[in-house]
Symmetry: D2
Subunit: 140 residues, 4 copies
């Protein structure tokens, strides 16, 4: 597996500059050769059902996508457009900050595959999945 080419500071700068990431309250906790760890700050708008108060699956899908894509970014220097995304939901994510861990599965010449897990504040696995990203270098 290729070595990490981007520092935590660089990847934090890219991630936190993006409007949707700001709304998700994202911060980079750790990045090393094994992958990336990103924290998301819980917000009331994530709730599906006003009584049960579980977090919407779309938020968990977004976190799988971001963690997988930035695990690739740490290795190749830039994130890539998502070609497709698959998310398995394991248990309801109740109110509280979430941690998403991303890792590269394979870097290809045209597209690359990475995976991610999302954990709740008690470190229980709430969702996991994989994405395929278009990572070919722009021509020119």
């Amino acid at each position: 597996m290729a070595d990490q080419v981007v520092t935590l500071q660089q990847i934090r700068m890219i991630i936190t500059s993006r409007p949707f990431h700001k709304w998700l309250g994202l911060d980079v906790v750790k990045v090393d050769n094994s992958g990336i760890e990103i924290k998301a700050t819980w917000r009331e708008e994530w709730v599906v059902h006003p009584e049960w108060r579980n977090t919407h699956g779309g938020i968990l899908a977004a976190l799988v996508d971001v963690a997988a894509d930035y695990a690739l970014c740490a290795k190749i220097g830039h994130p890539g457009p998502t070609i497709d995304l698959r998310v398995d939901y394991h248990k309801p994510a109740m109110p509280g900050d979430l941690i998403a861990r991303g890792a590269v599965i394979r870097i290809g010449s045209q597209h690359s595959v990475a995976e991610a897990q999302v954990f709740d504040k008690d470190n229980a696995l709430v969702a996991s999945g994989r994405g395929v990203y278009f990572t070919a270098l722009p021509k020119g």
Copy 2:
């Protein structure tokens, strides 16, 4: 395929009562035996890249999930927890309201499958996908 059992007014009431759906600015445009059509109201927080201004894939995943789940709801009377979700991204979704169309693929005794497409304001297909939902009736 089972007939629709929930009216547009009933499904609108369920959908719009949920905090994340309110944030997505969801409204039900249409519901009939062929499926459901849901509108999402664009917001600045959806933007990925401040210059390119494309909508984040997590938002599109959320819309696929909601449209697929409520296509099932229209047939069986309630939405079900998402078991897993798959989303293909077809082209960048630029600022503007989005339309998500959901349709049932198969209703099973334990879990059911539905699909959805997301269209931009020019009616171009920006994402599509499928979800599996736990739709067994609660015991008791």
Copy 3:
């Protein structure tokens, strides 16, 4: 959607020339602008459980893959390597020939998405899914 560019005879020649397709007993039933219909000839080796005699999910996955890929082939003139494949299983496929119907979802400049359904001899939906294919023209 682009018009069909390959005739039934041409696509039958490509499909039936391939060893795995011969083993699956594939033949092209129909190809038109809406998609392709392929027949697979049941064989004893497909059985999972010797008593229940249901067909293995790997066979159904192969049929979803072939029907989706050749739906693209009918539009662009050649099949493409599968980037990824997603299959939902709806009910056990009991002994008997199977029909797989494929349709294009979107043709892109680099990769394309198509879907397929598999039906048993009583025309019941036993599996369905989607694949992403690398369909860029070779450089040269």
Copy 4:
């Protein structure tokens, strides 16, 4: 994670009793708390293109499905029907025996998730994926 409850001999007996598994030339190499390793014996019928001689994606999908399902079997005592399957293809699998490694992601009360990788004879990753399985105990 639950401990392994099935021995290598027991799981070998289940796996090798099934017609499609026999055709795939499956044998269990190893089973422990971290997962299962299954070998598949290459056969000429797996070939897609008579000149390039790459293995069909349907065969790789079948191996992902088997390794994921029997990783669950090793923990819970029985395989479960596949609800859905997702496979990423990483590089062409050329003629030669294949190794599939399966591992459990999460065991649930109704359905469970497991993943698998497929390696060629040079130990290169050719495909990987995940499945959701119906693992609820039969009522009675």
